[in-house]
């Protein structure tokens, strides 16, 4: 390899490992646990007494979940490391997934959820990091770095020898008349964070929101849970970042862009506030000004409120100037100005598209998100 001047570094990596996980589950997860429930008082011989009953179904077969990860990567540096980077490809399979809210029939169990090893999930993805120094002269340097990540998540199985559900619902969001509804579904063949929603079909002649039922007909009434349909996914197809650093004489300038592409956000916050009939006693979003006063269905959570979550954010920009005084006591003084969260480009109608996209119920904005602040800092730092 020494004879190749163009290439400074080229490294191929490959790895495989299996790890177990029981994090988040305590020593009693597999046992029949007795305790008091929220409403557990009764009258016994004239005395108010605590009843003690099962609060957890036992599962003697509970075992660790395990994750097998295979990874292939290339690290490289070319043109005297002016361009370097890495490319990684991974396949991660988790089996015997532990879920402590697996729904079970109350005709079979006395607690409606069960802690069980059910199913498996597969993540495959590519991560690319590129670093470059496009310009480097005595007085001017430009360094830039981009990273991309793409992950494909799919539930491969949800059953074990005991349980054979073809799917289960998650993301119970509440809302008027929707307390028993769920907005996402965990289903083999689909990713975590798959939305399962009523399908909005516009307004009727009276301005009332209409929805499509499972049989294809249109209704202006609140649909049933069986009318929900799969409507998109909260997982982005691409997560990216771009950093730049410029140095010119004593000046330095850096900025970082980052963003995601291709994900959906359920704007349940907007749905919940979108109630024109209640406008005379509660604040409404400007969105609601365009709604008919007759629309008694306006607040229902549906795919009408499923929005693109793509965004580009200027996360940080800093301009600095460094003086090197001719004294021994102070080596350098840097004056700088930094702005954080300077702008976001997005079509998302909520306060901020950068909501939680991890966990079991990603991509939901349900009056539980405080927007990021924008901040400016002007500072001086000195080295002694």
């Amino acid at each position: 390899m020494k004879s190749v001047d163009l290439v400074n570094q080229l490294k191929l990596r490959a790895g495989y490992g299996v790890s177990g996980n029981s994090a988040g589950f305590n020593a009693f997860s597999a046992l029949l646990v007795y305790g008091t429930q929220s409403s557990s008082k009764f009258l016994y011989n004239g005395n108010i007494t605590n009843s003690i009953g099962p609060v957890r179904n036992d599962n003697p077969n509970l075992r660790w979940e395990s994750t097998g990860t295979a990874n292939v990567g290339v690290d490289f540096g070319i043109l005297k490391n002016r361009i370097s980077g890495s490319v990684d490809y991974y396949i991660k399979k988790t089996t015997d997934l532990i879920y402590d809210q697996y729904p079970v029939s109350t005709t079979q169990f006395f607690v409606p959820t069960y802690t069980a090893n059910v199913g498996s999930v597969k993540n495959t993805g590519v991560e690319v990091v590129l670093n470059a120094t496009p310009l480097k002269t005595h007085e001017f340097t430009w360094k830039t770095s981009v990273n991309f990540a793409h992950n494909h998540n799919v539930i491969t199985n949800l059953s074990n020898s005991q349980f054979t559900l073809d799917s289960f619902p998650t993301a119970q969001l509440g809302g008027k008349g929707q307390s028993g509804n769920y907005s996402q579904i965990v289903k083999p063949g689909y990713a975590l964070g798959t939305f399962d929603l009523w399908h909005y079909t516009g307004k009727n002649q009276n301005g009332v929101s209409t929805f499509q039922k499972a049989d294809g007909t249109i209704t202006n009434q609140q649909p049933l849970t069986t009318d929900q349909r799969i409507a998109g996914n909260a997982q982005p197809t691409l997560v990216y970042g771009w950093t730049n650093n410029f140095y010119y004489k004593g000046f330095d300038l850096s900025f970082l862009f980052r963003g995601v592409l291709g994900n959906k956000i359920l704007n349940a916050t907007l749905a919940g506030l979108n109630d024109p009939v209640d406008a005379h006693f509660q604040n409404i979003p400007t969105f609601t000004l365009h709604e008919s006063h007759n629309d008694i269905n306006a607040y229902l959570i549906s795919d009408r409120f499923l929005e693109s979550g793509s965004y580009l954010r200027l996360d940080n920009a800093t301009l600095g100037y460094t003086i090197k005084p001719h004294t021994q006591s102070v080596k350098s003084i840097r004056v700088y100005a930094t702005g954080s969260n300077l702008f976001v480009i997005t079509k998302y109608r909520g306060t901020d598209p950068e909501i939680n996209i991890g966990g079991l119920t990603p991509g939901i904005d349900n009056q539980n998100f405080y927007p990021k602040t924008r901040s400016y800092i002007i500072g001086v730092s000195a080295n002694f």
Binding site: Y34, G35, K41, F42, L43, I48, F281, I296
Partner: protein, 532 residues
């Protein structure tokens, strides 16, 4: 440095030996199956789950399914408040579906209760208690299981029959007639092993809120009176009479002198006519009749100061039955100009004014719709004062804002109902029988209750007057839906003035509630009821 490999080797052995040994530490910090139940107190606390579960949903959610679906109770919205996605309006117009929160919640309540009873049976059989204790315990559990099954059979009709725990395979739906048979055979098998009401308050206190012989007989009466509805086959009116007479053999049951005492906040084992009641208390949550059914601006006049919800009332059509001269039961409703209560169930001449005014509070019986919100009366002071309020479960002055509970125990079975059921069975063809030498005709039985209430006697009892007498005597006790279905009047609608845009779904399939869809998804052996 030479020692290092040896140390590593020793460490590996040590680590390996720990990792390979099965960890067995007895659980001490939590109740689990290895350390609970062991003592008699453990078993008492364990059996308590049958009762704490029962009280948790009986007087609110279960009650609403049985009452808001009839003319006896209505919960109209007040400018969007108490619309709650239409859950109350769907009850009124019979437009509920398999997603309705009560349909789902009460199914889980009932079958959770049934599976709990089955588990208690298994634990009791395995326990080291003596035979006498075991027999008594098993009878108690089976009676409670029969009660839960009755609730499920009455509401949902065709439900699975689960009699053991653990349940190996997902149970299938059974026809209502088969569930009826099971409940009947269970009650007949254990009735004689249950305790009887005594003349000792101490014994009655121990038995209070728990199954007795008379509770089993009264539950059998409900089965037999509705046998035609439940099984679609033979009527069992003679059995209704036989069970009524079995209850009356115990002279410790008698009508209390004052109707209102049965439902006061301090009611309990001292009430002579209670056969089975669900105890409630400020510490035992689940009775919220005052919270949902009282009129907020009257609280100070009744001796407490808690912000109640302005919501639930009865319909004017139902109230119209309270028209008998002298009838104390009429005073369990608040309507018209309001006066301070006199402390004994009546009223003084002192008007109750709206706070800071000299305007007397007047409760208007008519529920007038204000469009466009559905089944909504608007939320002005005037519209808040619409709807006849019930003070049958008399406001509990010890209520606090944080919980808004009533301490009044809620009767499930009481002697007055036994009389009325016997009277009805006779009107429907059973032979009248004597008790203690007195021939109990329908007229005799109904007038026992009329006399106690201070009401004019009923000269001629027919099935129609009997249904109205049940309405007066048993209002808001959770039986109206059951009664209306038996009389074929469940589909009579009660539109609200001036012109109700919503209409009742009068399909008779509404006589059964649907199986919750969430349960069908989890148990594919369940079959949905017709019409849903």
């Amino acid at each position: 440095m030479k020692r290092t490999p040896i140390l590593v080797f020793l460490a590996a052995i040590l680590f390996g030996s720990i990792a390979c040994t099965k960890l067995k530490v007895p659980v001490e910090s939590q109740y689990v199956s290895s350390n609970f139940p062991t003592t008699a107190n453990d078993y008492a606390a364990l059996f308590g789950t049958m009762y704490s579960n029962l009280s948790s949903n009986f007087a609110v959610t279960y009650w609403r399914m049985q009452e808001l679906s009839t003319d006896e109770a209505i919960l109209p919205a007040r400018d969007g408040n108490f619309d709650d996605g239409g859950q109350y309006r769907q009850m009124h117009y019979h437009t509920w579906n398999y997603d309705h929160p009560y349909v789902t919640g009460i199914w889980q309540w009932g079958f959770g209760g049934i599976n709990n009873c089955n588990r208690l049976i298994t634990l009791t059989v395995q326990s080291k208690a003596d035979t006498v204790t075991k027999t008594a315990n098993l009878a108690e559990i089976r009676a409670m299981r029969a009660l839960y099954y009755f609730f499920m059979m009455d509401l949902y009709g065709n439900v699975p029959l689960i009699t053991n725990f653990p349940v190996a395979t997902l149970p299938s739906t059974q026809p209502r007639a088969k569930v009826f048979q099971f409940i009947e055979s269970e009650l007949l098998a254990i009735a004689q092993q249950l305790p009887s009401k005594t003349n000792s308050l101490a014994t009655n206190t121990l038995q209070y809120g728990r199954p007795t012989k008379a509770m089993a007989f009264a539950l059998l009466m409900k089965l037999y009176l509705n046998a035609d509805v439940y099984t679609g086959g033979a009527t069992r009116y003679n059995d209704v009479v036989a069970m009524a007479d079995s209850i009356q053999k115990n002279s410790n049951y008698s009508l209390d002198a004052r109707y209102r005492d049965i439902f006061l906040p301090n009611n309990g084992p001292q009430i002579n006519e209670t056969i089975f009641a669900i105890p409630y208390d400020q510490q035992i949550p689940g009775n919220q009749f005052t919270r949902f059914g009282f009129y907020y601006y009257l609280v100070n006049a009744y001796g407490f100061n808690v912000g109640e919800s302005i919501a639930m009332s009865t319909t004017p059509e139902f109230y119209a039955r309270f028209n008998i001269p002298g009838d104390f039961r009429t005073k369990t409703w608040l309507v018209g100009p309001q006066f301070y209560p006199d402390g004994t169930g009546g009223f003084t001449n002192q008007p109750v004014y709206y706070p800071g005014t000299t305007t007397q509070i007047v409760i208007n019986p008519t529920l007038t719709l204000i469009p466009p919100k559905p089944m909504d009366l608007g939320n002005t002071i005037a519209s808040q004062a619409e709807g006849i309020r019930s003070i049958k479960y008399y406001p509990d002055p010890t209520t606090i804002q944080a919980t808004r509970l009533n301490g009044n125990d809620v009767p499930v079975f009481r002697l007055a109902d036994v009389y009325l059921m016997k009277a009805e069975a006779i009107l429907r063809g059973a032979a009248a029988t004597p008790v203690n030498g007195v021939l109990q005709t329908p007229g005799y039985l109904v007038n026992l209750l009329r006399t106690r209430a201070g009401a004019q006697a009923c000269p001629n009892v027919t099935l129609d007057t009997l249904l109205d007498e049940r309405a007066r005597e048993l209002s808001w006790e959770g039986w109206r839906r059951n009664d209306l279905i038996r009389f074929g009047q469940f589909e009579k609608s009660y539109p609200l003035p001036p012109s109700d845009p919503l209409t009742m779904n009068t399909d008779v399939t509404r006589r059964l509630f649907p199986i919750p869809i969430s349960e069908i998804k989890l148990n594919s052996n369940l079959v949905q009821n017709p019409g849903y």
